[in-house]
């Protein structure tokens, strides 16, 4: 993220840029990495599948009852909801980010509730890489970090499988270098 002088930007962009500057100042991290762009595609497919399923259900149910007008209205509503879900999913994908610093890993997520976690390498007990069937089809994987605290467990979804493996190895070796007990 390049630093933009605040007064130069006006209008709706201003708050976005302000937030970007804010975030930069927030964490002191200059290089945020984000999940693979394929995660966006995966989420879109998921939303589409969900929309299609409910569309079929709504149309079948209303047509069986013989109400064509209701069927049309229902279909429109479902498609609109699907489009909205797609927009939300896109924003949520964009919100994910992580940055590897000298001593700790930063993970940020969330649109409504924005969370930024700082996890020291030495506190990581183990790192887990999982990939569900859909993720695997897209060549993606989720990296999950576990510390002794149940509340601090952080994960990064939708990483390219190669990047996930690299991150896992990196975190594990850094964890060993910084290792400490409870």
């Amino acid at each position: 993220v390049s630093r933009v002088a605040e007064p130069a930007v006006r209008g709706p962009l201003r708050s976005i840029v302000a937030r970007m500057i804010d975030e930069d100042a927030n964490t002191g991290a200059s290089s945020w990495s984000s999940p693979s762009p394929r995660l966006r595609v995966l989420r879109r497919y998921e939303v589409a599948a969900g929309t299609l399923a409910s569309l079929t259900l709504v149309i079948a149910a209303t047509l069986a009852a013989g109400a064509t007008a209701v069927a049309v209205a229902g279909a429109v509503a479902v498609i609109a909801a699907g489009a909205l879900a797609d927009v939300v999913a896109a924003r949520r994908v964009r919100a994910w980010g992580y940055a590897e610093r000298a001593d700790d890993l930063l993970v940020r997520r969330g649109v409504m509730f924005r969370r930024t976690s700082v996890i020291p390498y030495g506190r990581m007990q183990y790192v887990e890489v999982t990939a569900g069937p859909f993720e695997r089809a897209f060549g993606l994987a989720t990296v999950q970090m576990h510390t002794a605290a149940a509340a601090s467990d952080a994960r990064i979804p939708g990483l390219h499988a190669v990047e996930a493996a690299r991150l896992r190895d990196q975190l594990t070796s850094l964890g060993e270098a910084h290792a400490m007990g409870l």
Binding site: T27, S117, V118, P120, A149, L182
Partner: protein, 466 residues
């Protein structure tokens, strides 16, 4: 029984005093013969009594029912004897070994060097027979405890002292490290405080209502009691359990941690090693405010595991001080976490819009070793967390907070219940905290590690032995 020699004894140390029993030489020992009976508990005893009564009474039933009764009794007896026969323990080469089970044999090893604490638990039935259970807690790993249930009370006390001495690498006959009593909770105060908790007040209101109803309409009251008796009984049992567990709770400070003794029917003496304390929480309920009372809870590191023993451990971790004055609490907190921060800063005034009820209690403070946060809606809750124990730092910003430019910082520890939250701070301040706190935690940890390399406590114990 072997000769009372102790191979682990360091050369040149004073010879052990006359021994109450020989054991640490290395031979296999059995538990007390009544152990299966006590362990089986009230249920089995009730069954045995129910079966015995017809056998002993003058009105004999038929021969076949007698035979069945005798058979069941024999089976229970044989089962108990076998379980007693196959359970044995020994100390050998610096390791405590416990073997049990006939068909599925288990053998557990507890290296003495890793013993963190030894707790004594005495359920009501065990006290009738003057027995006690030793629970050996080992550092690290699964956090599982070794159980020796049951030994006679005197034997348990001696064995505890010896195992502790061996685990600290001093002469076997050294008495258990001395402890300094900090405070005792008076039973009257405990009773009053329990009656003033949420459950207690609910019970009192219900009983009061029933009384009024009984005066106005006896029939309706009888009906209400017959319907709600089970629930009412449950409430009373729950309150009694609290009273029983915290009765005459005494806190003492020993070299290896805080020692808590308590109990009316079941008594226990447990040690909470200082290094395992992840956080302390002080709660000041609304109903206790006229008396200026508060409750202290400690949270210890715990792995997610199941089982009875773990539940007991959780119970022990709950209340360090079930009820006490603020001065007592302050003294206790200071003995666990010396040098707490005094300064607290309040959140910005606009946080009132986000947390109208909490606002008056919200504050936080920190020095280079500890962080403290206060919160709570009706009751005030104060959390202390050593920075060296913080596992991760999180910034969370909800939609309402974003409108108000506020942010919360969470300090996560390995404890189960308590984790400190610095709520509703100015966003810039929160951002600065998120940047600074991980570094501060790292420094605190390094200081703590250096302290652990040269532990003062072992030296302390050795000095006392001379």
């Amino acid at each position: 029984v072997s000769e009372p020699t102790a191979p682990e004894l360091p050369a040149g140390s004073p010879s052990p005093a006359p021994q109450a029993f020989a054991g640490l030489g290395g031979d296999w020992q059995r538990l007390h013969p009544l152990s299966p009976l006590v362990r089986a508990g009230r249920g089995v005893i009730a069954i045995v009594v129910v079966l015995l009564i017809p056998l002993l009474s003058s009105q004999r039933g038929s021969l076949s029912s007698d035979l069945i009764h005798i058979g069941v009794l024999l089976a229970v007896f044989v089962f108990g004897v076998i379980s007693w026969l196959v359970t044995r323990w020994r100390v050998e080469g610096g390791v405590l070994r416990v073997e049990s089970g006939l068909i599925r044999r288990t053998s557990e090893r507890f290296p003495l060097g890793q013993i963190q604490a030894i707790d004594t638990v005495r359920p009501g039935l065990a006290r009738v027979f003057d027995l006690a259970e030793l629970r050996i807690r080992v550092a690290g790993g699964s956090g599982r405890a070794g159980r020796l249930a049951y030994l006679t009370a005197a034997e348990a006390e001696t064995l505890r002292a010896r195992l502790l001495a061996l685990s600290h690498g001093v002469a076997e006959a050294t008495p258990a490290p001395p402890e300094q009593a900090l405070l005792t909770v008076p039973p009257g105060r405990l009773l009053l405080s329990i009656l003033l908790t949420g459950t207690g007040l609910a019970l009192e209101l219900t009983l009061g209502g029933l009384l009024v109803l009984a005066i106005l309409a006896p029939g309706a009251a009888a009906a209400a009691i017959s319907v709600g008796a089970v629930g009412l009984f449950g409430l009373v049992i729950g309150l009694f359990r609290r009273f029983n567990g915290d009765y005459r709770l005494t806190v003492a400070s020993a070299a290896d941690g805080l020692r808590l003794r308590s109990g009316l029917v079941e008594t226990s003496a447990e040690t909470i090693p200082r290094g395992r304390i992840q956080a302390i929480r002080m709660v000041e309920p609304l109903a206790w405010r006229p008396f200026g009372w508060c409750r202290l809870e400690v949270d210890v590191a715990s792995q997610k595991s199941k089982g009875r023993q773990d539940r007991n451990q959780a119970k022990a971790a709950r209340a360090l001080l079930p009820v006490g004055s603020r001065a007592q609490a302050a003294r206790l907190v200071d003995s666990v976490f010396p040098g707490l921060p005094d300064e607290r800063c309040a959140p910005p005034a606009r946080a009132r819009w986000k947390s109208p009820l909490r606002f008056r209690y919200l504050s936080w403070g920190a020095n280079d070793r500890y962080a403290v946060t206060t919160s709570g809606r009706l009751r005030r809750v104060t959390d202390w967390v050593p920075l060296a124990k913080v596992q991760s730092v999180r910034q969370v910003e909800g939609p309402v907070q974003r409108r108000l430019r506020l942010s919360s910082i969470h300090l996560d520890t390995a404890g189960r219940r308590v984790h400190a939250v610095v709520r509703d701070r100015d966003r810039a301040e929160a951002a600065q905290l998120l940047r600074e706190l991980p570094n501060r935690c790292r420094q605190a940890r390094q200081v703590e590690d250096r302290r652990r390399v040269a532990p003062a406590r072992d030296q302390d114990i050795r000095d006392r032995c001379r």
